[in-house]
Symmetry: C2
Subunit: 529 residues, 2 copies
């Protein structure tokens, strides 16, 4: 059982907490938190490289992501965060190039995706949560280090004649910065493109007054003034926050799913994996039993409140599938539960959305759904009798690449919308999933939102809310035509015994099924009687 327990677990755990951080130190001083980077060279995920000069691998970024998340939920009294380094004359050298050199393409993609999501989480906290971020660059800041600084609201660089910001990827490695550096330089900080072009080709970067003139940083101060100026500016940023003056927050406790070789089972989420078919089934259960009706009751429940608990579990399962199960091409998304309870939950969340904690929960649901949007697997939602695709959980069907609604004359499936489908859970494109779906027919959005009752398969198909309605069994007939070219070169970056079980299997059904062949029984546009 112990071996089986480990088998489906990623060697990278996304479960951490400040007392277990190896690379960051999180300290507090009233409304200001300080996140100090102090990467332990020998504590990388693999022994194949050393994390010198505050360079990072995924393990370092998992701690950073955890810290950002905890600041939002556990520390409502924090109004500004200073990100700095505990090393002398070096802020961060960026992603570790030896780690990158030894990684597969798939690993690098997931690494860059996660690190960019962490930086987006910083920007999301600034935009939506009243937490401002100040990058205090006390030394050289290169590549991914500068990309981290770019995610902050402001950047202060020490002016010591040596410390510079740089994106040396192109001149040194012949690659482009992989975590949003180019776009944040020109689109977020609005650096002139010709200057950005020059900046991106000089390995040593830009420092001092030129860095300010070119908008690469917001200010430079000599070493003698640096700490005081950072402290002052952090206080100014904190003063603008609309967060509570004091705590308490709520504790984010470890998730602890039950793990077998082929499944992960949380309280409201589970996933079953069929590696031979390169197929997984993800199930999310709606709220059960009595639910809170006020923000105070939610706060008392803390991380056991369904909305937070279920979406934390969903977030965790998505991350695990990305890194630990690269050959799972298709993920069937199911839900179950009481649609009415789910709609009541949404109503209650929206009624309390001005409370800091409820605001955090809704934005976290939004970020988790974005993580699903940007997970490069084929998600097929299966809407069947007993499923709970209602309101916020219906976003799972909208986030899926396509949806199949089972039209069983003996036990009809239904789905339902709530006001949560109308705004709070926007995608990365700034639109809701309904807006994105109905670009050509925006009038359908209001029609669907105003219906006020569940949709049966015929109505859902007519309203454009599902891709297909089908009477045939699923997934046996409509199964995985997906990812016809998985990376056969997938190789985890370290070769711990636990990992061997995830290597590609030579066995296995064809990755192509019958979905969409001209003879398949699915249909759309009208309901077959």
């Amino acid at each position: 059982m112990e071996a089986a327990t480990k088998a489906a677990m990623p060697a990278v755990s996304f479960d951490t907490s400040p007392d277990r951080y190896r690379h960051w130190k999180l300290t507090f001083d009233g409304p200001i938190a300080t996140l100090s980077m102090d990467v332990q060279e020998d504590a990388g995920l693999s022994p194949d490289y050393k994390l010198k000069l505050n360079s990072y691998d995924l393990g370092v970024d998992v701690e950073l992501a955890d810290a950002i998340q905890r600041l939002r939920f556990e520390h409502p009294e924090v109004h500004a965060v200073v990100i700095t380094s505990m090393k002398e004359r070096i802020f961060c050298a960026g992603a570790n190039i030896f780690m990158l050199r030894g990684s597969t393409h798939a690993w690098k993609v997931n690494f860059c995706k996660f690190t960019n999501e962490t930086r987006l989480a910083i920007e999301d906290a600034s935009e939506n949560s009243g937490i401002k971020f100040l990058a205090a660059l006390n030394g050289i800041c290169a590549g991914g280090g500068y990309e981290l600084a770019l995610a902050c609201d402001e950047i202060i660089l020490v002016d010591d004649g040596n410390s510079a910001v740089s994106l040396p990827e192109t001149p040194l490695l012949g690659v482009l910065p992989g975590t949003g550096g180019l776009t944040r330089v020109v689109d977020k900080r609005k650096v002139r493109r010709d200057l950005a072009d020059f900046f991106g080709t000089v390995a040593e970067g830009v420092k001092g007054k030129r860095a300010v003139d070119w908008r690469l940083v917001d200010a430079v101060y000599p070493t003698s003034q640096f700490k005081q100026r950072v402290a002052t500016r952090a206080q100014e940023l904190a003063a603008k926050s609309d967060r509570p003056k004091a705590g308490p927050g709520i504790a984010l406790t470890p998730l602890k799913p039950k793990v077998t070789d082929t499944s992960l089972t949380y309280s409201a989420v589970s996933v079953e994996i069929d590696r031979d078919k390169r197929f997984a089934t993800l199930t999310v259960s709606g709220p059960e039993g009595e639910q809170p009706s006020t923000a105070g009751e939610i706060q008392a429940l803390g991380d056991q409140f369904w909305a937070l608990r279920a979406f934390r579990e969903l977030d965790d399962v998505l991350l695990r599938l990305r890194v630990a199960e690269p050959l799972i091409g298709t993920i069937v998304v199911k839900t179950r539960g009481d649609q009415h309870a789910m709609l009541k939950m949404d109503e209650m969340l929206l009624a309390n959305q001005d409370h800091w904690l409820v605001r955090e929960i809704i934005h976290f649901m939004k970020r988790t759904l974005k993580r699903m949007d940007l997970t490069s697997r084929s998600f097929f939602a299966l809407i069947e009798p007993g499923s709970c695709f209602a309101g916020s959980l219906f976003e799972l069907a909208l986030a899926a690449d396509r949806s199949y609604m089972l039209d069983d004359p003996e036990a009809d499936s239904t789905l339902a919308l709530s006001a949560m489908n109308g705004g709070p859970l926007k995608m990365s494109n700034g639109l809701t999933r309904l807006q994105t779906r109905f670009l050509a027919e925006p009038e359908r959005i209001e029609q669907a939102l105003e219906r006020g009752e569940p949709f049966n398969p015929e109505d859902a198909l007519e309203a454009g809310l599902v891709s297909f309605a089908t009477r045939s069994g699923w997934p046996s007939r409509a199964a995985p035509r997906c990812h016809p070219t998985p990376s056969p070169a997938w190789r985890p970056i370290s070769a711990s015994p636990a990992r061997k079980r995830w290597k590609p299997r030579s066995s296995g059904g064809s990755p192509r099924g019958r979905t969409g062949s001209s003879s398949d029984p699915m249909r759309s546009g009208k309901r077959v009687p």
Copy 2:
């Protein structure tokens, strides 16, 4: 000399005309032109593949691009274009996969770039030139064939029980459609993403009523009605045009540059190539002598009118550099001529911009500058005494990745703006180059445009119009830090003797110069006395 003449020429010639087309037939019937695809299997650019089933290679698309261009300049009486096939039951099978399989990455990139630019030229003609395009799909339309149809304003598909539109790249080849198919399906035609996802995974595509219901095509008609319906719809589209009722247009005659092993010399454009340094110098000369002052005079000059002639030459040189000189990393852009004459030219163009021909010329200048924006080389503009970076030609400096202005106390350089910098020559992002440059300081745009006199180096630097002002010689000191990792695997797709001279040379100076090293003499932000 004959060998030398061939050496710098691409095996792919961009010079063609309807009487020389091998793959397309261009016919006219009043305001309707018909472009019929009839690809000759054995007339590909390489003997290594056969262009079966109206599949295409770059040579086929060069003819298409030529036809679109000639319709705009030579046929103002054409108000709508039907794009169809002369083959039975097949419209177009898309890009030839054997050609793609045998091509280098660099070739594929240039191939997809050119074919997409051709499709963008179709959309530009529709949006700006009063020519509507109707794809008349008389048979199977797959991959690049459907991407061509997507570039048209409307798509009519024959409903014969067999003919379908499809993007089979993913299910058959495991790649994504490379010429805008995905974006045009979801963003231009606003096909629902879930349906697009399904569509993009079924090799056989979608046909008949479902193709209409899903917005993949605009209409389907049975074979018996197809031709008549297409003709009727083409007449309806033509009726909306604001183009002249009748000709004449102007003839686009062959460019015929003087060619040596290391240079191409046209009337107003020349390029000198230094392959050892992976470096080229591109020079554009402004208008000389008396220029027309009315649209009638421009029309009398035809393709010898400076603005059309110079930009046709520039367009040709960019295309040749892309395909024939893949190892040239840096292109220094120079101009020469009379800035005052250039500003008068711009004034005259804008005064006559409502005339169909002047409109065409301005949009062609815009498209050529976009082609430069999207040519993946490092363009460095060098502004020196005697240069002609004024108005439309100053766009070359803005299109360059960066610009250096020589600040010689004995003969100062100048540059100047015109109203052409304020709107007509927009980039692919829908903004002018000045708007793109000054995202952070939009007030600078009006300030610069309203100045009314030339900028010397100090003023130009202060106004943010050049990247650097320098007294040092150039390019000797500021030269090519560029493309540190050229593709050593470049291989032309055919191996004609003429091509051997373009193979990578093992000789050669380091690709890295001293640009941007901390000790370099360039400066910005202020002028060194």
